[in-house]
């Protein structure tokens, strides 16, 4: 049985959604890798990696291979929004939160990020409210960011076993070593 036949025998569904995890073209350049200090549960080594441009790019490539790059993209977008949100007016703030919700946290999103049902409900409810005050928006972004970082932590637990990570760590700890050999 070929695939299309298999498909038609299983479901009558009509909505096809492309999976877009291989989006490396958005990575290496224009990277807004993390600039904030780690907060609570966002702990150190991963944060060091994400704050460094080379580290970020190596990690992004690894995430892409493991089909989890949506978390990197989401983190970038949250970071960008966190940097801008204090300067946004109420309308723009609401639109931005709504856009973030649609892109990563809606059931229909092709880049849906793996967060708890509670967080998904929270962003849906906030994004759909008529007014989002700055404090609410900031708290929401912090919460979402923590969850996305937790996701990246799983990928990171495998990334640390790669040569890329060893080389990067060596470069960070002994920058002069890259000129040896």
């Amino acid at each position: 049985m070929d695939v299309s036949t298999a498909l038609s025998t299983i479901t009558t569904s009509t909505t096809h959604t492309n999976i877009t995890t291989n989006t490396t073209s958005t990575t290496a350049t224009n990277t807004t890798y993390l600039a904030h200090d780690s907060i609570g549960i966002e702990a150190n080594e991963l944060m060091m990696l994400l704050k460094d441009e080379i580290g970020w790019n190596l990690f992004y490539e690894f995430c892409t291979k493991e089909y989890s790059a949506e978390n990197c993209q989401c983190l970038q977008d949250i970071q960008t929004l966190q940097n801008k949100i204090t300067r946004m007016n109420g309308k723009k703030r609401r639109e931005s939160c709504k856009a973030l919700q649609r892109k990563y946290f809606s059931g229909e999103s092709v880049q849906q990020v793996n967060v708890s049902g509670r967080s998904r409900q929270l962003i849906k409810s906030i994004a759909n409210s008529k007014v989002i005050d700055l404090e609410t928006a900031n708290e929401l972004l912090i919460r979402l960011r923590k969850e996305v970082v937790m996701n990246l932590r799983d990928t990171f637990s495998r990334f640390i076993l790669t040569d890329d990570y060893s080389d990067w760590k060596e470069m960070m700890m002994n920058p002069e070593s890259i000129f040896k050999e």
């Binding site: 299983i10 877009t20 793996n114």
Partner: protein, 358 residues
């Protein structure tokens, strides 16, 4: 890139991973030719927290792959400690949510610090071992723990709190058991390969189990030679992480139905593993099993064998397409190294035997 099919009748986020082909899959091939292939691809599938990655890590350890050396496990200190902090935070939050007071004033102070400022670096200080253990033993926290089906908590909670002496030390190096017991929600897809004789390699593929992660499974559907589907026996009183109002057993049955009846898997050996037997046996000693299954005889609810037989029937009833003679059912305690080794060896033999029959 492959497509997925979303049923228009689904609730938000409840995507089916029915569809299959990934046109650009570099390892493309038909399951029908598996007998002649030098690489056998086995997918570990199942809903979230069914134990796929725990089994995967165990198989890594059997084969000397992954984090077998102290130096490598040192890299995971932070992840183990994060598990401790998350468990502590979830328990403290649960006492508030369930309106259960933390009894001792010093434990209430510890709880405040956990919620507001404690981070993994702080746990290098051995004094945190005593403070966290004291919190863990607080009557309020223990009462919340007894009601853990009402909120999300890792299975490893008790283990981690009982090992705080080691974990909260500047000399701490995670043991293999610590790594196995540490819960990390698996994101994306990862794999490992090992030799199985006759010049063949087995490629074991581990995946995330939550709904959004299941969309990614299809990347491997058309290269698969066997499926090992895990479900947790101990989830009968729990709701989903990604959807608090949805019963885990219902989700597991639904995912199993979609996978086992997928046309691309008709010809491949299929193993159903009922995992977390250890936790399940402990749980039914204190919790009612029959409360969740109206068709189950209440008089048998403390008998694990009867309960597992009932669960087996529930799952096998979902099989409408797959030939039953290529389905094998087993129980597992994936956190138990020896049991995992034995069960995985049986699974491997079953798969190899089925392939020779083709």
């Amino acid at each position: 890139m492959g497509n997925i099919v979303v049923s228009p009748h689904d609730k938000e986020g409840q995507h089916h991973m029915m569809a299959t082909p990934t046109s650009n899959n570099p390892n493309g091939g038909s399951a029908a030719t598996a007998k002649n292939k030098s690489e056998i691809t086995v997918l570990l599938l199942g809903a979230g927290e069914s134990g796929k990655s725990t089994l995967f890590k165990q198989v890594q350890f059997f084969h000397g792959v992954g984090i077998t050396h102290d130096q490598e496990r040192i890299e995971l200190i932070e992840i183990v400690r994060l598990n401790v902090l998350e468990n502590a935070k979830n328990l403290v939050a649960a006492t508030q949510h369930l309106n259960i007071p933390i009894e001792q004033p010093e434990n209430r102070e510890t709880a405040k610090l956990i919620i507001n400022s404690l981070n993994t670096n702080d746990l290098e200080d051995p004094s945190w071992s005593k403070r966290l253990y004291s919190l863990w033993k607080d009557a309020g926290i223990q009462k919340a723990y007894e009601n853990r089906e009402k909120f999300q908590l890792y299975d490893s909670t008790e283990y981690l709190f009982e090992n705080l002496d080691r974990i909260c030390s500047d000399k701490y190096v995670p043991t293999v058991v610590d790594v196995i017991r540490t819960r990390t929600k698996t994101i994306g897809i990862t794999d490992m390969k090992f030799d199985v004789g006759d010049g063949k390699q087995l490629r074991l593929v581990d995946v995330g189990g939550q709904r959004n992660e299941r969309r990614k499974w299809i990347h491997f559907f058309n290269t698969v030679d066997a499926v090992v589907f895990l479900t947790s026996l101990s989830e009968f009183d729990l709701n989903l992480y990604e959807d608090n109002g949805y019963w885990r057993v219902k989700e597991s049955l639904r995912v199993f139905n979609e996978v086992v009846n997928n046309a691309l898997f008709y010809k491949v050996p299929f193993v159903l593993l009922f995992n977390k037997r250890d936790l399940f046996e402990k749980k039914i000693a204190t919790k009612s099993f029959s409360k969740y299954f109206s068709g189950f005889n209440e008089a048998e609810e403390k008998n694990p064998v009867a309960c597992i037989e009932y669960m087996t029937k529930l799952f096998l009833n979902e099989i409408t397409e797959h030939p039953l003679d290529t389905v094998s059912v087993k129980t597992l305690s994936a956190i138990d190294h020896d049991n995992s080794k034995q069960v995985f060896e049986e699974v491997k033999q079953f798969i190899m035997t089925q392939q020779h029959r083709e």
